[in-house]
């Protein structure tokens, strides 16, 4: 899998060179103030290899993923442009892929997108012209065959390193490995998983992945999210669909005095990363510190992931 590097992506180069990769996440602001992104960038710079820019996450309107990614690049960092199928049809999707690539974006994450019911515009019409798996094959076709979905030739292909998400904790569990196989068949090159709290279930999934040899076809980055507090842990356990927080973690957070809960949350995240590093088939971690960007460096540092390699 180390294979030939197909894009200018630093993330791709690190992964293909066999080094343990680290990605982070940066949510764009709900306004037109570029300084918000620049500020987050300063907190995140050099703490990971590339950073996801979310695309109207949880269906709440935010600054566009492409524009935010460009601001991030101005700060000397490498963005992963997220793209959801909820808000655009295939015409807009391909157009944005071309535009993003032209502006220098080198990584893209293909997602279906949360249902608009969860956002600030539940009255919106959703699109879902294509789904995340079809989005993967669309961008791979554009890049590798130089063709639009409609069949016409592209002049100047978008050189994007193509990723997707996987949720090993959603139901039904038994198809979570086959579903990854579908994404691999569609041409995905790296995967960032849903936040891992239940390591036992995750390693069960990874075993299935390794048994099918999928880890040799796609780079898998385990998702890690630190709890800020017991309240947040409980919220994620109860209210976020497809999230699996085991009771012993909740107990551990609950049993920690309030003032040191944040510290304990970081400790849990570091322990999770250390276990992921030992797991067969794991190529890196994806640290999602939701509105807590200043802690990404601390977690990476404590997990022995710093300094990041330069390629």
């Amino acid at each position: 899998m180390n294979g030939e590097v197909k894009t200018e992506s630093k993330l791709e180069k690190i992964l293909r060179s066999g080094q343990f990769a680290v990605t982070g996440e940066c949510g764009p602001p709900r306004g037109a103030d570029a300084e918000v992104i620049r500020h987050k960038c300063k907190l995140l710079k050099d703490k990971a290899d590339a950073f996801n820019i979310t695309d109207n996450q949880t269906s709440v309107v935010r600054m566009s993923s492409i524009a935010s990614a460009v601001i991030m690049m101005q700060e000397g960092m490498e963005p992963v442009m997220q793209m959801v199928c909820r808000d655009r049809n295939r015409i807009a999707i391909q157009s944005d892929i071309l535009g993003g690539a032209a502006l220098g974006i080198k990584n893209m994450l293909c997602l279906s997108g949360d249902h608009q019911k969860f956002g600030d515009h539940p009255q919106a019409k959703n699109v879902f012209d294509i789904d995340s798996i079809q989005l993967i094959s669309t961008v791979r076709r554009m890049r590798d065959e130089g063709k639009f979905l409609g069949g016409d030739d592209i002049k100047g292909v978008p050189k994007l390193f193509v990723g997707a998400a996987a949720n090993p904790f959603a139901d039904p569990f038994e198809i979570r490995v086959p579903r990854l196989a579908k994404k691999v068949a569609a041409g995905v090159e790296f995967i960032q998983t849903q936040c891992i709290f239940n390591l036992k279930k995750f390693s069960e999934w990874m075993k299935g992945v390794v048994d099918r040899g999928l880890h040799e076809k796609v780079f898998i980055l385990g998702g890690v999210t630190p709890f800020k507090s017991f309240g947040m842990a409980r919220y994620m356990a109860k209210n976020v669909p497809g999230m699996d927080v085991p009771d012993e973690l909740l107990e551990r957070m609950k049993g920690t005095p309030k003032e040191s809960q944040a510290e304990e949350g970081i400790k849990i995240a570091v322990e999770t990363i250390q276990q992921l590093k030992e797991m067969k088939g794991i190529a890196g971690v994806h640290i999602m510190a939701i509105e807590w960007e200043e802690k990404v460096g601390e977690i990476a540092e404590k997990a022995g992931l710093l300094p990041r390699p330069s390629v």
Binding site: S112, D114, H115, K117, D129, I130, D131, S132, I175, A181
Partner: protein
């Protein structure tokens, strides 16, 4: 069948403001079966309208009528003798029926009493659910007889998404995850091989996206 739901009463009375004599026109087709626009519902709504208008000191005269189907010019013709005597028609048919009546009677205001909601069926008496989105290119062969376009909240052709929890959809714990149902069916049919195949990008031209659609039986054309 096409399922409809009666509009809020205030919206209906709002449309009828200023009219003194109307016809409430029911439809004997789908909306009779789903208990929203048939003979009985015409009587109920007419009764309500008369009472509400009496109550407001502004009585209204109503002709109650139900035809076999409103989505067929032949039956819409049946009320041609009544229409000139009223100053508006309140149709209790689906959106298709309302338009047939409007097209047949130029110059006559024709209002919808229902919101046409979906194509589906009944789970039990008086309980209706959506089953089909009339995409124009049936995929039920690949999905074990359960439609992902109509029944997955995101219309995913390669589901389920990460929001499927204990067989339910992330948008509502009352809603079944269509992909869970599809997988259960494929398993019982021993056709999980169909799941592993990626469904290609859909051609939505057969859907409404290709513009208004028609279907012609050529052996009936003269």
């Amino acid at each position: 069948m096409v399922v409809g739901e009666r509009k809020p009463f205030d919206e209906i009375t709002g449309m009828l403001e200023g009219h003194k004599k109307i016809m409430v026109l029911g439809c004997g087709g789908c909306v009779t079966v789903c208990l929203t626009g048939g003979h009985d519902e015409v009587r109920v709504l007419s009764s309500q309208l008369r009472m509400a208008r009496d109550n407001a000191g502004n009585p209204i005269e109503i002709v109650e009528k139900t035809v076999e189907r409103q989505c067929d010019p032949e039956y819409v013709e049946e009320v041609s003798g009544i229409v000139p005597d009223v100053d508006a028609v309140l149709s209790m048919a689906c959106g298709a029926g309302v338009q047939y009546v409007a097209e047949r009677y130029p110059g006559m205001p024709v209002y919808p009493a229902l919101d046409t909601t979906f194509v589906g069926g009944s789970t039990k008496e008086g309980y209706y659910v959506e089953k089909c989105q009339t995409c124009g290119a049936c995929k039920l062969f690949y999905t074990g007889g359960i439609c992902p376009i109509a029944r997955c909240s995101k219309s995913l052709l390669n589901g389920p998404c990460g929001g499927s929890t204990k067989g339910k959809c992330e948008i509502d714990p009352e809603v079944d995850c269509a992909w869970q149902l599809i997988l259960d069916r494929l398993k019982s049919l021993n056709r999980m091989d169909l799941y592993e195949e990626n469904m290609a990008v859909n051609d939505w031209r057969t859907n409404r996206d290709g513009g208004p659609r028609k279907m012609i039986r050529e052996d009936f054309q003269r």
